[in-house]
Structures are given as C-alpha cells and as structure tokens.
C-alpha cells in the first residue's frame, strides 16, 4: 500500500514536470491537457490493440518513441508504414525485420493533429512510468456489503444467545427456589416452582413461537422467491478459457475495444473471433495455456498459425459462449444509455472485471439493485445539452436550492423506463 501511495505521488510529480517541460516548448498547458485526453481515446481506439507504452505487445513498446524518431518520420510511418518499408527506409526496415516482418496497420485517416495528441498521451504515460499491478485493485475487498454467508461472527452470536438463554433459565430456577425458601421461612404459601417443562407447555408461548416461526418462514420464502432465477456469482466454465485479468487487467486492453456495442446500443456485444484476430494473428501463444486456447479461435475462424494465413473455403464455426448476464424478457436494458449518457464505469455493475480470471456475475441484476442505483446516481446534467429541457431543475441549481439531480428526479424510477 505504501508503495502504491509513493508511486501515486511520484506519478503526480512526474506529470507535473511533464506539464512544465512541455509548457516550456510553448504549449498552453490547458490545451495540452485536452490534447492528452483526446490522445488517450484515440490511442485506445487505434493503437492499444497492438501497442503498450511500457511493454512489447504485437508491436514495440512506445515509451520514448517521440524522442527516438523525428515527428515527420513518425507521421509517415503511422500513415503508411509499408510504403516506407518498400521505399527502403533503413529504420523502417529494421523495425519490420525485428517484428517478424509483420506490417503495422495503416492509418491514413489520422491527421497530424491526431497523431500529435496520441504522442502527447504516450509522452505522458512514458513519464508516468510503468504501472504497478495492484493499482486498480483499490476497492476490491471492501465491496462485500451483500455477503450472505454464515461466517464466524454469526456462530459467536448464536453461541452467546444460546448461553444467555440457558443462563436466564438457570437464574429463573435459582430465583424461584430462593424466593420459595424465603417464603417458607416467613410462613407464606409457596409459589409454584419454576419448571422448564411447564414453561414450554405455556399456550401463549406456543402460539407466540408458532406465529414467529410462521412469520420467519413466510419472510424467508418471500425473500428467497425474489431471488429465484437470479444468479449472482454465476461463473460458468466457458468454451475458451479467456482471461479478463490478462486482457483487461495486465495488458490493459480497453473494454470497449472488444465490447464495441456498449457505446452504441442495447447489447455490449460479445466480440466475434475476427476481433480477436486483430491481435492473435500475431500473438499465438498465451502465458497460461500456451497455444491451446488461442487455437480455438483459429478453429472457429479458419486460420493457419504456421503460414499466418486464413484457410480458404473453411467452414467457420461460431463459438458457443455461455451467457452469464441474463435479464428477464420484460426488462429493457440499454448499455449505451448507461455507458455513454450515464458515464457509468463497466466495473460499477460488472465488478472488478480486470481482476477476474473467470468472469462471474457481480451484481444481483434484481430490480431493487437497479432502483437503488437510480436513486443514488447523479445525472450528468451540466455536460449534456439534452438535459437543458429540465428548466426548473436548472433554475433551482442556479439558485442554490438544489445541488444535484438524481436519475430518480428525471423519471428514472418510472415503470416504462425499463418495462415496455
């Protein structure tokens, strides 16, 4: 932990220096900040599938690339590397040969400004230094709010309760005996002595206990019936032992690189093998299972890893994944609404997916869970012009009567937002 904090501080200091240094070259630092942000998204879309900043992926690590080559050379290379190789550029051919003569995708549509942004981002990342593996695991353990397990605490409580009940009975017996002794001494008639058997034969108690038991049973039934069909924690074995930890966590591939539907519409989309092939055309061996699992992609799409060519006339076989997140048919859920309009992180609902070797269902996906979030989440009110039609809220916020607008306030709890 200490190391993490140190690292974070160190990073911040480095970023600060990066700003100062680039500022010296005549950039306005606020503009630069924007450029880095734009660069980051462009980087994730275009580069992240083959490059990482600090380690080799399909292509070389990009750290320091902005210093290693001059800008003009980089522009040419990114736009069309194969042309450069053909033209006999020495450095180009050196890279080409170093990486098994695989050609980098050409990006003719990127403008020089785009590339500058990307390089600015690379520069920032380079200066920030390599990430530490545990960085993103910040909130992992703390999220166990919904634990239903019968842990040691519960056992202690049970034991103590039983002991207390026992003590109560013993004390009652002692009290009754002592009381009667006193009464005998004073010549008064004895009370009926306390007896456990008699206590339990009491009709009132029986009725009370019966009712309580019934109530408990009814409540438990109701409670459990609600979760019938829910599969929180469901983590089935998949046809390919795909590790999100490796891809999203260690390699840092952006979630939406594969789940490209999340920003567009209803379904986040399970990537089709041709998306896998963007990287796995080159990466033919994994750290855990070697070639075994990756071969399954090749079997699906018809690719010969030896010749690095697609097999012509191959009868492609779709991969039969097991679906983990299932909503009932009468629920309408749209990823784009949450990811784009709501700006919700994937992890909010899916848990720390970048830590999962095998993916399981993190949330209950029950209606109460949805509603809770809709009650607590702020609408991205200021940054989206769509919400300008909520004039009263805007006025109230301006007047300081309201600090935020929750999803609930714009109708997020209404039936026909999800059921139609």
């Amino acid at each position: 932990m200490l190391r993490y904090i140190n690292n974070a501080i160190q990073n911040k200091i480095l970023i600060y220096f990066a700003f100062v240094i680039t500022g010296l070259f005549g950039f306005n630092s606020s503009v630069l900040a924007q450029d880095v942000a734009a660069g980051e998204s462009a980087y994730k879309i275009n580069c992240a599938s083959c490059h990482k900043v600090h380690t080799k992926l399909v292509g070389p690590a990009l750290a320091g690339v902005y210093d290693k080559y001059e800008r003009e050379w980089l522009y040419k290379w990114i736009k069309n590397s194969s042309a450069m190789i053909k033209s006999g550029d020495e450095r180009a051919n050196a890279i080409y040969n170093e990486y098994n003569q695989s050609v980098m995708t050409a990006f003719p549509t990127l403008s020089e400004g785009d590339m500058d942004n990307i390089l600015a981002y690379v520069q920032q990342e380079t200066l920030a230094g390599p990430p530490v593996a545990a960085v993103t695991g910040g909130t992992g353990e703390g999220g166990a709010a919904v634990s239903n397990s019968f842990g040691p605490t519960q056992i202690y409580i049970l034991i103590i309760t039983l002991a207390l009940i026992l003590i109560t009975f013993v004390l009652a017996k002692v009290l009754s005996t002592l009381g009667n002794l006193v009464r005998v001494r004073e010549g008064l008639p004895e009370y009926e002595p306390f007896s456990m058997g008699k206590f339990f034969r009491n009709r009132g108690l029986k009725l009370g206990l019966g009712l309580a038991a019934f109530g408990l049973l009814a409540y438990t039934t109701y409670d459990n019936a609600g979760s019938l069909g829910r599969q929180e924690g469901y983590a089935p074995a998949q046809p390919i032992k795909f590790s999100h930890k490796l891809h999203a966590g260690i390699n840092g591939v952006d979630c939406q690189y594969c789940h490209s539907g999340a920003a567009k519409g209803k379904s986040a989309v399970i990537p089709s093998p041709n998306v896998c092939m963007n990287c796995h055309k080159q990466i033919q061996e994994g750290p855990e299972y070697g070639t075994k699992e990756i071969q399954k992609i090749y079997d699906a799409i018809g690719f010969d890893p030896k010749t690095k060519k697609y097999i012509e006339g191959y009868e492609q076989k779709p991969i039969d994944w097991v679906r983990i997140h299932n909503l009932p048919d009468h629920v309408y859920f749209n990823h784009a609404q949450h990811v784009v309009a709501g700006g919700v992180e994937c992890q909010t609902c899916h848990g720390e997916i970048q830590e999962m070797e095998v993916v399981g269902q993190h949330s209950s996906l029950g209606m109460g869970w949805c509603i809770d979030c809709h009650r607590e989440t702020d609408v991205k009110f200021a940054s989206n012009e769509y919400y300008s039609i909520y004039e009263k809220y805007h006025e109230e916020m301006k007047a300081g009567e309201r600090s935020n607008v929750k999803v609930e306030d714009i109708g997020g709890l209404e039936c026909q937002k999800c059921h139609y």
Partner: protein
C-alpha cells in the same frame, strides 16, 4: 350546440335499451373462460377432482421450483458484418410491389430479420406514405404456407432436376408458350422475359388482373390511341368529381393519391382554401367518406351521372334518361358548375370497368382541358396492364388446345377468374404448366405440374417502374428463408443464359438502359441507398417538364346510347362487386394482420358479406344481428344469383346505399389461402359476366333471397363505444371556417374560455405541473380533415407493438387487441334523408389519450397503470393482475385485455381446452416478425397504446448520446410514420416550437370529453368540409352554435349564460335520447356524478346547473 347526431351503428341511432345496457358494460359477455369451462369440464367434478388438481399443482410447483436455471448460450458472429450491431436496427430502402400495389419503403431489420415497413420519404410517388397492405407485407414473408422447395406434380424436388425437365419440355413444346402474369412493373423482369422470348419464339405475355382497369385501357386506346392508365395529379385538382371510384382506398395508386389529395385539403387560418370533392357512388367507400358531397346512386346509374355531367359542362351528349332523386340531380348540377369554374384544374375519375363509361370520363376531362394538367400521359401507370379481352381469348385458346406451355406468375385464375371451370378445363389441355406462385394455391392445386416458387420481395433483388420514369429498386433484407428462386432468374436459366445472378442482370439492365456511363457505380449506389431514381431511358435525371397532354379523338355517341339503355333498362336487384382495402383481389387472404383489420366502413373483419341499405333490409324483413333488430342472433344469410351462379353471404345493413343494391367484396372465399383460419367468406368472382369488352363489376338484374339466419360476423362496430357523442366529432364547413376559425369546434371554444377553465380546475389528482411542465410532455394530435380511414396506422401499430391477432371467433366476442382503432361515425338529417341514403361519414383514429387525469390509473389496485413524469399513461404488464377495473373506467374504451395466450408465449396451453383459435400467429416462423424491443404480453394482463414508448426511449437516447437536444419530429409513433396523409403528429408539448404544439394552438383543435376533465394528451382538429352546410345539421335559427358560446363571454357575472348554453344543449340531447328511461341514466351518469366531484369543492351554483340539466333530460 348543434342538434347533429352521430352514430356508429343503428342500435346506437335508435338507442335501444339493449344497446344502452351493453354500452355501459365494458365486457359485454360472460368471461369466455367460464363458458369454456362450463362446456368442457365435467359437471360432476367434485372433491376427488379437486384433490387431483391440488396434488398435481403442488407437484408441478415443486418440480418447477427445483429446476436449475437453464444454461443460456450466446453465439457471436464469426466475422461480424460491419453494419450489424446486435440491438440496433438497420433500415434498407426497398420497394413493396405486388401486382398493381406499389409502395416505396424502408425495411427495418433487427439482427438480420425484417420486422417493420416504413415509408420512403424520398419517393416521388408514395412520398413516405404506406398502405395497410404494405405494412402487413412483412408478415407474408414469414408465412408458413409458402412453398419451401420447388415441386414437380406435388412432390418436392430441387432446382437442377426441375430446370432440366423444364428446359427439355420447353424445347419441344407444341403450341404457344404463354406467360400469364399480373402486371409486371420491373424493367429487369421484362428484360428477362424478352430474353426468354428470344429463345422461345412462340412466347406471348398475357396480363391478368382479377380487378382490372381494362375499361380504362380500351377507352384510352379509343380516345387517344394510348392503351395505358395515365398519371393523375390530384395535387393540382381543385375540383374533383369521382363516380364510383375509390381513389383513396383501392384505385390505381391510392397511397399516392391520398397524399396528393390531402395536400389540397389541409387547411390553415392563413390559407383557408381547399379542394372541392363530389362523390357519386353505389357503395360506401372511404373516398366517399372524405368527400364534401357524397351521393349514393345505383350501380347502373354510374354512366348516367357522367353523361349528365358531360352535358352540363358543355359537351355534346343526349340525355341518359336515368331517374335521379332531386338531391342527386341538384348535386350533379352543382358539381358541373364547380367543374366549369376550374377548367384545367379539375379531375373526373370513375372506377367503372366499362369502356363506355370511361369514354365519357375522357370526354369530360377533355372538355375541361384537364389533359396535360391534372392528367399526364407521359408519366403513366405501368402497373395496370390487366387485359380482360386477352384473358378471355387465352382461356378460349387453352380450351382449344392452342397453348402448349403456361407459365403463371402471381395469378390465381382457378380462384379469381369468373369462369374458373373453363380455365381449369383449359389448364388440363396445356402440356407444360409452371407456377411461380409462392404457395400451392387453387390454381396450383388444379393441376399445375411444376411449382417454381419465386422469392418474397423482402428476399429478392428486383426493380420497379410504377410510373413511367419513376424507378425504384428492391433489395433483399434477409437471405431467402426457403429454397426459392426469383422468377427472372428462372426465366434466364431456362432460356439458356446459364446460372445468371439476377443482381448482376439488374445492374446490367440499368447500366445499358438507365444510368449508363462512367459514373454508373456512384449512380447505382445512390439509387440503391435512396431506393428510388427518377430518370428517363438513359437521359439521366429529368426536370419536372410540361406534362404530356392528349387530344381526345374518341366518339361518345355510341357510349351515351349504351349507357342510357343500361340506366333505363337497369333496375331489379343490382350488385356491385369491389375489392376492399385489406384483402384486395384475394392475394392477401392469408395475411392475418389484414384479415383482422376491420373494413373502415362496415367494421367487419375475417369475412365478406352482402351490404344492403336499411330500406332494403326492412322491406325484406332481414336483420344483421344488431341488437335492435334482434329476434335472432346474428346476420341473416342471403343468396345472390347472377350470371347463373349463386353465392350465399351474411348481410350487414349500412346506410349510404340505394334500395335494392347489394355490395360484395371480392377476394374472399379462398379455398387454399394457406391457413385454415383464413378460409373465410364466399367467392364473389363467379357472379361476374363478360360483356364482350371487360368484366363489369356492376351487375344488373340479379336476384336475392334469404336462405337462413344466425351468422355471426366479427364486427367491431359497436364493441368499444364512447358513451357520449356530443363533442366527439366536431365538424364545420369551409364557409363558416372562413368567418370564424373555431366554428364547429364547440369543445375548443370552451377550452379557450378562461371562465370555463377556472370552473373546472378542481381536481382529485393533485398538481402535475411540477413534473410535467419541464422535461418532456408527450402529445399527439390528429387532423380529422386529413384522415381517410385507410387503416395503414392500425396495421403499423399492430406490427410495431406486437399486438396479437386473435382470430374471427375472438373478434366476434369483442376480444380484438388492436391498440388503435378508427371509429367511423355516420350522421344524417332524418328529415331530409329518411332512408339514410346520403349520410356524412367521419373517421376518428382512437387510441389511448394518455390523460393527465387518467381515470384508469386510480382504480388499479396494484398500481400497474400509472403516470410518468413525461405525461405517459404507463402500463406495467408484470404488475397487472387482470382485474380489468381500468378498462371499465376508461372513458375512451381503448384498453384491451388478453383473454387468452394469443401470442403463444406460454406453450403449456397449446392444444388444450384453452387453446382457441389463437394459433393464427404462434408458429415459430411467424413469430420472427415480433419486435424485440416490445414485451410479448401473456394471458391475463391489460394492454393499450403506449405512444410507442420504445421509439420515444430510442429517440431520447440518440439525443443523449449526441449530447444535444431532442429535435422535433425525431420521434415518430408507428401510426404517424405510416400515415400517407400526415394526419397524425406527435411530439413534445413542452417544446414551444414543436409541430404538435402548433396543431394544438390551431383554433380547430379540441380534446374529447371535455366535461370529465381528463386532460387528454391527444387532441383532434375539427373536420372541415368544403360545402355550404353540414348534412344532418339542424340549425336552430334563434340559437346558432356560435351564439351559444358567445354567451360564455359574460360568464363572470353569474351562471345565467352558462345555463342558457347548457339548456340548449339539454334540449337537443333530450330530443335525441327521448326513449325510455335512458334520459335518467344519462343524467345521472354523464353529469350528476362527474360534476358532483367538482361541485363538492365549492361550486354549488355550477353543480346546480348541471343538476337541472340532468333533470331536463329526465323530463324528455
């Protein structure tokens, strides 16, 4: 308040006690489940059965509960097509073509399945509109009755085998090769036929349409030497006279005509002008309902009316000698006067298939200089090629053995040819018969040897030239579901061109004939993207040029004399046959969506029937089972005989027809439509006789008689009746509108009255304003002036919202599920028109009004029906426990209850006692059409119009994703986008600039049932007719409607004015309702109760007025 009375059915007009009782009852019968149980369950089921069922259900529940959650799989594409993202819809431009039906469309596909048809706004013909048939065409793709493979003699085969056999037989054919087809509008298919012709010299093409335009073709040939149906431009016509022509419903190009016609009928305060439309017709059509003057005539008088008109406008014609009633004669004169004032800007059309009649039409149009202005020979309709003479000749040739091979394309003469027996005899003598039809229809079953099924249009490449120079492309939106092949491809492969891909062939045809040159690829891609292309024979894009006129060279004298003899000799019982807007000539018989769409006038579905006037029925003592005429249940069945053939049909009684006239729809009585559910009605084609030129759909001297009774038609006419007709339809005349822009709009006048507003602003519902006045507040407005009753919206709504089809039995029991209906109201003045021969007819699209003070919401015990902050009246299906209180409490009668598992969501009930006839839509193939964004409702829940909430949510999301405001018009409800006349608009009432607000601010705007203050989100625009006075309107000279409401102005100083107004109203009302104890009911329910709520809050005076009002009624 006017004394005008509107009614939907005769029961209502007479207000019989049974009707009143029934209209009070939302569910007018015993719950059918009970009936079923009574009939099927044993009467002696006792304790043992109870225990058995108990044991079974406990076990079943245990087993069900202990089941593991099934493992669900999800399979991504191996190589995902770039344009497909699961969950997002794609739209492809294509063209719906089926014989003479045409509509340029966008096909909505989800995950590769076409699920909905939208209009293509780039089309120069249909202009974004659709028809009921085009909307429903998507379900015909998933028709289980389609041929799944080519077949030889009824046995499944494959293409190589069948090609080999056909090729060898074609090579040695003995006699002519005839391609018998309905109209072919595809230039590429025509080119393929030419290739076929080149290969096989003896090939002829005969065009056959069961409901042909032969009369027009022959008349135009005789008049102008052009055997075509010319282009009509209703947009340019200021005066329209239509004689027995349903140009808004079924004639030539109804979607196009509706858009053009209504363009001239849209009226605004700035431009208070509209076209004038006279309609003379022998049956009641939707076109007649839209007309300013509608007069009923006998079928035999169709020509006579035109002859009179010709003479009146200055043409040379003798008298027709027909006997018209005074009202008709006067209207003819009026029409002639109007026509003369609009030379070159008028249009005469007739739907008659008699060349003589069409000759007179041509003469009048020519006399009025309409050729080259409203009629255009340059841009003719290529779609109407059906040639009766050629067909009759073909049948004779076949019988004589002169035809060696017959190739049938989308025609079904064994069903639709009047002398089907002769055709079948001929077919037996044809050596080689091939059918491209998509199913084993009557003709295929009559002995066609080779069945080589064509694709559905949603699976195929093709093109269309519906009007000369207006091209459109058809592109596949799904891979062929079955082993079918396009007809063009079949012809090409038989003519020896090898395996030709029809896509390449079309491109080649277009390249050489249409858009050749270097830029072909770009032009092609644009045409494919747009779906349409306007050009002419390779000359590239054309400008709107001067339209081709034509010189009338025909002679009318012989036509006039023939018409005169028909008009005079006519008489006896007359029959007019027609195609209706849904089933057409019979080719849509297996489309359950169309079968279940009620006829806009008769409101009957799943059947055809003989329509007779009230007078005819009374004279013969017939009943159609409406309650007031109920000695027996159901309609009487009559037999109609003509041409030596007799058919039997149930009757329906309808105002607006002449005595002794029967109207019968063709297209029913199919023996082999596909599904047994669709084998309904009787075939009327055999009644037709060939008159030497054409098959005339108007038949004289038929005979009829009652044969039996008790036929139960599935009629929706009075199923869902709004209790109170006073201010449901507001109408005015153009003359009055020009004086006062809220004339006739009684509700609107009151809404605008500030005092009225104050009086009624006491509510049990609390203040909605905080939520509703910001964000969105959805509203919908309907322009009654633009609604033609075409029913495209009804079908579009069904398909968009997965509204189940319930079948004939269930419609009869008032279980139809339609979220939207088009109410049809008659109105007539019984003094001027005692036999109800010339009533006015108004349509009113009716859907959930999304009341802000919704009566349905507060009676729901489980809050399944509730209100959203966007003004939607929400329905949460999974909450609904089926008490049906909401439907009972809905004043608009728009809620529908799922009595059965109509969609088959719960297969548990299939083939059990609860499995009625809901199997119409439950097979897995037809379920492919379901919209995945809309929940399938199960048995026992209530449903209703949601304002297409899925489209609202989608539109909002798009705006949010783009970080921008929602644009007006971005969200279109299904009914709105399907409408060819833009009669419906939808939008955000909080958006000051939205079109819906613009409509709502129009002084023609009104909300229904103002008195109960439900605050509808749906409003209507007053209907305006271009005439002097509204039919059936009785003006109270001392108290004109306008003065009535003038009285509201001085409301402030007491309730005198108010009382005056209501008093007048009460009088009129009492007069109407003056039967039995109804007045009492009405007073108590209509007013006492509702207003009781109001005056309970301190409006004693007001309440008192209403008390008086109720009392008035009582006295009357």
């Amino acid at each position: 308040m006017s004394n005008k009375k509107y009614w939907k059915g005769f029961d209502e007009l007479e207000n019989s006690p049974e009707f009143v009782k029934n209209s009070r009852n939302e569910f007018s019968e015993t719950p059918p489940v009970l009936e079923e149980l009574k009939s099927t369950a044993s009467t002696h089921s006792g304790r043992r059965d109870f225990l058995k069922i108990l044991g079974y259900s406990v076990t079943a529940a245990t087993v069900a509960a202990s089941c593991e959650i099934p493992v669900r799989r999800v399979m991504p594409y191996v190589v995902k097509p770039e344009e497909i993202t699961p969950g997002l819809a794609n739209y492809y431009a294509s063209t719906f073509v089926n014989g003479s039906d045409y509509c340029s469309v966008l096909v909505k596909t989800r995950e590769g399945r076409p699920i909905k048809i939208e209009g293509n706004e780039l089309s120069t013909i249909t202009k974004g509109g659709t028809s009921a048939r085009a909307q429903a065409s998507v379900i015909s793709l998933y028709d289980n009755a389609r041929l799944k493979k080519p077949a030889i003699n009824g046995a499944d085969s494959d293409w190589p085998t069948i090609d080999k056999e056909i090729k060898s037989k074609l090579a040695s054919v003995n006699g002519d090769i005839v391609i018998l087809s309905n109209s072919i509008v595809s230039p590429s298919t025509k080119a393929a036929i030419n290739k076929f012709k080149n290969r096989f010299g003896k090939t002829k093409v005969v065009f056959y349409e069961p409901v042909s335009k032969s009369g027009m073709l022959y008349a135009n040939e005789a008049s102008f030497g052009k055997k075509v149906v010319p282009g009509y431009n209703f947009e340019k016509a200021e005066v329209i006279v239509s004689v027995d022509c349903d140009f808004l419903g079924t004639w030539v190009s109804p979607t196009e005509f509706s858009a053009d016609y209504i363009k001239n009928r849209k009226i605004s305060p700035d431009n208070p002008t509209m076209s004038q439309h006279f309609q003379f017709e022998s049956r009641v059509t939707t076109t007649g309902a839209s007309a300013d003057y509608r007069r009923s005539i006998k079928p035999s008088q169709v020509g006579a009316v035109l002859v009179e008109l010709l003479r009146e406008v200055g043409g040379s014609a003798g008298s027709s000698g027909a006997q018209f009633s005074e009202i008709v004669t006067n209207t003819i004169k009026k029409a002639a006067l109007a026509l003369k004032g609009a030379r070159g800007k008028s249009l005469i059309v007739s739907g008659s298939n008699d060349p003589d009649v069409q000759m007179i039409v041509n003469a009048i149009n020519s006399q009025l200089n309409n050729y080259g202005t409203t009629i255009d020979f340059d841009s003719a309709y290529t779609a109407h090629q059906g040639d009766d003479k050629a067909m009759v000749q073909l049948v004779a040739d076949m019988k004589a053995g002169r035809v060696g091979a017959l190739l049938l394309n989308n025609v079904n003469p064994s069903y639709s040819y009047p002398d089907a027996a002769a055709f079948n005899d001929g077919l037996a003598k044809v050596g080689l018969s091939i059918s491209f039809n998509d199913r084993v229809d009557e003709t295929a079953a009559a002995g066609v040897k080779y069945l080589t099924p064509d694709h559905h249009y949603l699976e195929s490449w093709s093109d269309a030239e519906f009007r000369t120079g207006h091209y459109s492309l058809i592109q596949p939106t799904i891979s062929p579901l079955f082993d079918t092949r396009s007809m063009g491809e079949s012809l090409l492969s038989w003519s020896g061109a090898g395996d030709v891909d029809f896509y390449d062939f079309i491109r080649k045809t277009w390249k050489s004939n249409l858009i050749g040159g270097a830029s072909f690829n770009d032009a092609w891609n644009k045409a494919l993207h747009d779906g349409v292309y306007v050009g002419r024979g390779g000359s590239g894009e054309i400008e709107e040029s001067g339209m081709a006129g034509a010189t009338f060279t025909g002679s009318t004298s012989s036509a006039v004399s023939k018409i005169a003899s028909k008009a005079q000799g006519g008489g006896g019982i007359e029959v007019t046959l027609y195609e209706n807007i849904t089933i057409g000539d019979g080719r849509y018989a297996n489309n359950p969506f169309l079968q279940e769409t009620p006829d806009p006038i008769a409101k009957v579905c799943w059947d055809n029937y003989a329509i007779v006037s009230p007078k005819t029925a009374d004279k013969n003592g017939w009943t159609d089972g409406s309650l007031m005429r109920t000695p027996t249940k159901g309609s009487d069945i009559i037999s109609v005989t003509s041409n030596g053939k007799t058919i039997e049909l149930p009757i329906t009684i309808q105002p607006g027809m002449q005595e002794d006239v029967i109207a019968i729809a063709v297209g029913y009585g199919r023996k082999k439509p596909g599904s047994e559910h669709c084998t309904v009605g009787a075939n009327a084609y055999p009644l037709l006789a060939y008159n030497g030129n054409s098959f005339d759909f108007d038949i004289s001297n038929a005979s009829m008689s009652k044969t039996s009774n008790g036929y139960e038609l599935a009629q929706t006419q009075t199923h869902h009746t709004i209790d109170d007709k006073r201010e449901i339809i507001n109408e005015t005349t153009l003359a009055e509108y020009k004086v006062k822009n809220d004339s006739g709009n009684y509700s609107g006048q009151r809404m605008a009255d500030p005092v009225w507003k104050d009086h009624h602003h006491f509510t049990l519902y609390g203040n909605h304003d905080y939520k509703l006045k910001q964000g969105h507040h959805w509203g919908l407005a309907v322009d009654l002036n633009s609604c033609t009753g075409c029913s495209a919206c009804v079908v579009a709504c069904n398909i968009e919202n997965n509204v189940p089809i319930v079948g004939k039995e269930n419609v009869h029991r008032a279980h139809e599920m339609h979220w939207m209906r088009i109410d049809r109201y008659y109105s007539a003045n019984p003094e001027k028109d005692p036999d109800f021969e010339h009533p006015e007819i108004a349509f009113q699209p009716m859907m959930c009004q999304h009341c802000d003070n919704a009566p349905c919401e507060n009676v729901c015990p489980v809050n399944a029906s509730n209100h959203s902050s966007e003004g939607l009246n929400q329905m949460a299906y999974n909450r609904c426990i089926g008490t049906r209180y909401c439907a009972n409490n809905c004043p608009f009668k728009v809620r529908r209850f799922n009595w059965f598992d109509f969609t088959g969501t719960d297969s548990f009930y299939a083939k059990t006692m609860l499995d009625n006839d809901q199997t119409v839509m439950v097979d897995n193939l037809s379920r492919m059409v379901l919209n995945p964004d809309v929940t399938i409702r199960s048995r026992g829940v209530m449903e209703k119009c949601s304002f297409c909430v899925q489209k609202i949510q989608d539109g909002k999301l798009e705006a949010k994703k783009g970080k921008r405001k929602l644009r007006d018009g971005e969200i279109k409800t299904a009914c709105q986008s399907s409408c060819p006349t833009h009669a419906i608009t939808f939008g955000d009432m909080n958006d000051k600039d939205s079109e819906v607000n613009e409509w709502r601010e129009n002084r023609r705007n009104y909300e229904l049932l103002l008195d109960i203050h439900v605050l509808s989100s749906v409003s209507y625009l007053t209907k305006v007719r271009n005439k002097e006075e509204i039919e059936g309107k009785v003006y109270n000279l001392e108290h004109t409607p306008m003065e009535d409401h003038g009285g509201h102005g001085d409301h402030g100083d007491g309730h005198g004015g108010d009382h005056g107004g209501h008093g007048a109203h009460g009088d009129g009302h009492g007069g109407d309702h003056g039967k039995g104890g109804h007045g009492k009911d009405h007073g108590a329910k209509g007013h006492g109760k509702d207003h009781g709520k109001d005056h309970g809050k301190g409006h004693g005076d007001h309440g008192h007025d209403h008390g008086d009002h109720g009392h008035d009624d009582h006295k009357h």
